[in-house]
């Protein structure tokens, strides 16, 4: 076994030092009746070459872009990732390190996380961002929990246009907390009904996603004002962070917490994971944040350096009094993101965001022209809802055979949205791809 360096002689010599007669003997403290009497029933080891073949076959079975033209978004976005990102991420010293417990030999990790915190805080317009959370959904769940707890209130109001997958996570997380999650309905314009907050009492936090699941931009400032009025925090969620290259950031619109997904920023889709939960807050709230924070300091010689800080919020110090149980986070994904953000740059991210917008608008416009209904007039970014005629599901299947995935059928998530599809267009799809789709749909 090429990963196991022990020769029979090594094992013999070491057993002798240890005073054991055999490898089995090492487990003498385990009661015999607790031990497995047979070999594990697993497939026999594959050689590296057999493994390559198996994996190639499995990978080839996937309807991935660019083989397929995939008009899916809904929380996972196909963006171009420069080859420098996997190259730099692949550096042994980044990949095979762990939590930077020893800052003197972890400044590579520590500086990139500090840079990540900084760039993400700029993108989201918020004071502080943690070193990462599991994903947008868990970031949202944890921030809602913290918000309600610190407000000592029992109701979390959540827009029904928060990504349905995230809302399912909230449901799970809140089951045993004693906090009620109340959903805010949406309006015919594809935005959350702000007025629905009026009727609610004991609200500790309000969560709104913008762009929301229908792709529409919400009036975050309106929600912030109303939430604050009611003594609640506004938590701004998002699944497509690239939107803030073009549109106002959530922080600039009064959000107290931001909690969303950063996969768009250089993390491959990879069938949904690992992803990159982004979680931040205003400065006042920093000591409530769950998860790691990296701070600037100096070493004994006065040289600038970075360390993990404010760890008294964390489980390894505070145990049951910690603000969260999170331990491992998504560090390599945050590395991808900071390399990506550095590569795209301030000028580039705006142009890229604009291009996403323009492409999606092109498809939207052409669909409209072709007579399909765009039910919501609200401003969108790179996703929007279209209503196709009854029976479109057959066309959808036919398109799959032509290697086109024509958006996400919404009826599974919103039963009232029969024949509605959520379409996403990023910079990876060309006008020709869209025209192909349009041609197929119209025919």
């Amino acid at each position: 076994m090429r990963y196991l360096p022990h020769t029979p002689e090594d094992i013999e010599a070491m057993l002798q030092v240890v005073g054991a007669k055999s490898l089995d003997d090492l487990f003498a403290t385990i009661p015999p009746d607790s031990r497995l009497k047979r070999d594990l029933d697993l497939p026999q080891p594959l050689t590296e070459w057999e493994l390559n073949q198996l994996m190639d076959e499995m990978a080839a079975s996937m309807a991935s872009s660019p083989k397929y033209k995939v008009f899916l978004g809904a929380g996972s976005y196909n963006h171009f990732i420069p080859s420098t990102v996997p190259f730099l991420m692949g550096r042994s010293e980044f990949v095979t390190a762990y939590t930077p417990y020893q800052p003197e030999v972890s400044q590579g990790t520590l500086q990139y996380i500090y840079e990540f915190q900084t760039l993400v805080s700029k993108l989201l317009g918020i004071d502080v961002v943690t070193a990462s959370h599991y994903n947008g959904g868990t970031a949202l769940a944890e921030s809602l929990l913290i918000a309600c707890r610190s407000k000592k209130k029992k109701v979390a109001a959540v827009s029904s246009l928060v990504n349905p997958m995230y809302r399912r996570i909230l449901k799970t997380y809140f089951e045993s907390t004693g906090i009620d999650v109340v959903e805010l309905p949406y309006l015919p314009d594809g935005r959350t009904d702000l007025s629905a907050l009026d009727g609610l009492a004991d609200v500790g936090a309000v969560a709104v996603q913008s762009p929301n699941f229908f792709g529409c931009l919400e009036d975050l400032q309106g929600f912030a004002d109303k939430s604050h009025e009611k003594g609640a925090f506004l938590i701004a969620s998002f699944t497509e962070a690239l939107a803030f290259g073009l549109f106002k950031s959530p922080g600039s619109q009064g959000a107290d917490f931001v909690a969303g997904e950063g996969q768009s920023l250089g993390v491959p889709q990879s069938y949904g994971g690992p992803s990159l939960g982004l979680l931040g807050s205003t400065e006042k709230l920093v000591r409530n944040l769950p998860g790691r924070l990296i701070g600037k300091t100096v070493d004994l010689d006065g040289q600038r350096g970075f360390v993990m800080t404010l760890a008294t919020r964390e489980q390894h110090i505070r145990r049951e009094k910690a603000s969260s149980n999170i331990c491992s986070n998504q560090s390599l994904c945050s590395l991808a993101a900071v390399i990506y953000m550095a590569s795209v740059g301030g000028t580039g991210i705006r142009e890229l965001a604009k291009l996403n917008y323009d492409k999606a608008e092109y498809l939207k416009g052409q669909l409209k022209k072709a007579g399909f209904k765009i039910p919501f007039e609200t401003q969108t970014f790179n996703e929007f809802v279209v209503e196709f005629p009854e029976g479109f599901d057959k066309t959808y299947q036919k398109l799959l055979d032509k290697k086109i995935v024509a958006g996400l059928p919404l009826v599974k998530y919103y039963p009232e949205m029969k024949n509605h599809y959520l379409m996403c267009v990023t910079e990876t799809l060309t006008k020709a791809d869209m025209d192909d789709l349009l041609g197929e749909i119209k025919s």
Partner: protein
Amino acid sequence: MKKTYTGLQLSEPLLWEKGKKGRHAFDLPGRDVEPAPLDQSLVGDGPDFPDLSEVEVVRHFVRLSTWNYGVDSGTYPLGSCTMKYNPKTNERQASLTGFNNAHPLLPAELSQGALRMLYEMQEYLGEITGMDGVTLQPAAGAHGEMTGMMMIHAYHAAHGRQRTKVIIPDTAHGTNPATTVLCGYAPVNVTSNEKGYLSPETIEAVMDEDTAGIMVTNPNTLGLYEENFKKIAEIVHSKGGLVYYDGANMNAIMGVVRPGDVGADVMHLNLHKTFSTPHGGGGPGSGPVAVKKDLVPFLPVPQVVLEDGVYRLKDDCPQSIGQVQPFCGSFNVILKAYAYIRTMGPQLKLASQLAVLNANYIKESLKGTLHLEYDRPCMHECVFDDKFQEQYHVTTMDMSKRLLDYGFHPPTNYFPLVVHGAIMIEPTETESKEDLDEFIAAYKAIAEEAKTNPELLHDAPRNTKWRRLDETSAARKPCLTG
């Protein structure tokens, strides 16, 4: 003894101390559509990112990387973290375009490869743990704990009476009590006995009908097998409680003990530890949860099933606790762990045996040099402390910093809390005897220096590009963005 050298390591400023407006390291795709009008009131300023050329970006991160120490640099015996070698072939598999560019909401017929891998992984982990059902969704160990404890919560709810407490041993990892609280339970802290593990009597004394169960790490964080585990499980079960098995230390016992065979009801695994997946800088992880039959109905959705030869995602499970991930978990991490399991097969047992051999070898070799509180055959790790060095005013931390000068990553310090000044060493099976001998020699040399020249240790590290960093002032006036 290993000799290290100092050498040239280049300095590098922060990203925004470099660059100039107008540079870029990213190609904007050609514009093939017209600019569309925009509601200007919604438009923001865009983030104030630096603009860098590709060369600047590459040099920046290459230089940063050289300031880090990883498993590929050398021995990294960080206790409780199983810093084993991360096979390079797994990276190859995980970078295949078919996987990398796969959208998680693709129709099942168009993602059979991914689903097959997930399905088989559920099966393999079930076999390794001796459990009946597996979810691959949790993003890390702590997330697995929460998922598992929520299932216990749901189980009790379904059985008509919710309970309020969960027993937590003093050796538990910090995530255990934190999880307990997150799931709405109060932790009941219990202490291990003088041998370093739990006595049945201790549990007997606190287990009652208001207690939802116990969370036990086994082998525990002292690196010891919980010899009374079976008995304890019986006690907990007898009062209607459930046993949560923290399987983060599974690297000690693969193919030797299956938690499902000895009384565990729910457990998590840390794929990023036991199953060799890299988690550079702190993650990503993957913390699958395995459960016994009674708890299968509560598993999170979606589950991967095989029906009529087709793999599908199933989410109509009425008793399920629901979803804990937007999609199917840390797919790309699971894929690497899958590649590892397919490469190892039943030889996983040998990996555990050698991990335990390595830990015991270190324990025996260093026990005259460092104080060993619990002198018993250990599993995958052993825990020393700095009692011998106290007289020289040398601490665990000082020795660790000196170890850096010797070119090793130090062990985990000051955990588990039950050992004052703990030095928790987990070599893993991928270290050779020569590596261990060098590491042992380094500790011996340092212990000698502690006697003869303690200043060397107080002053350490000296060979690294940075000396000790001021953590106190970092926390007092936090500067978290630049």
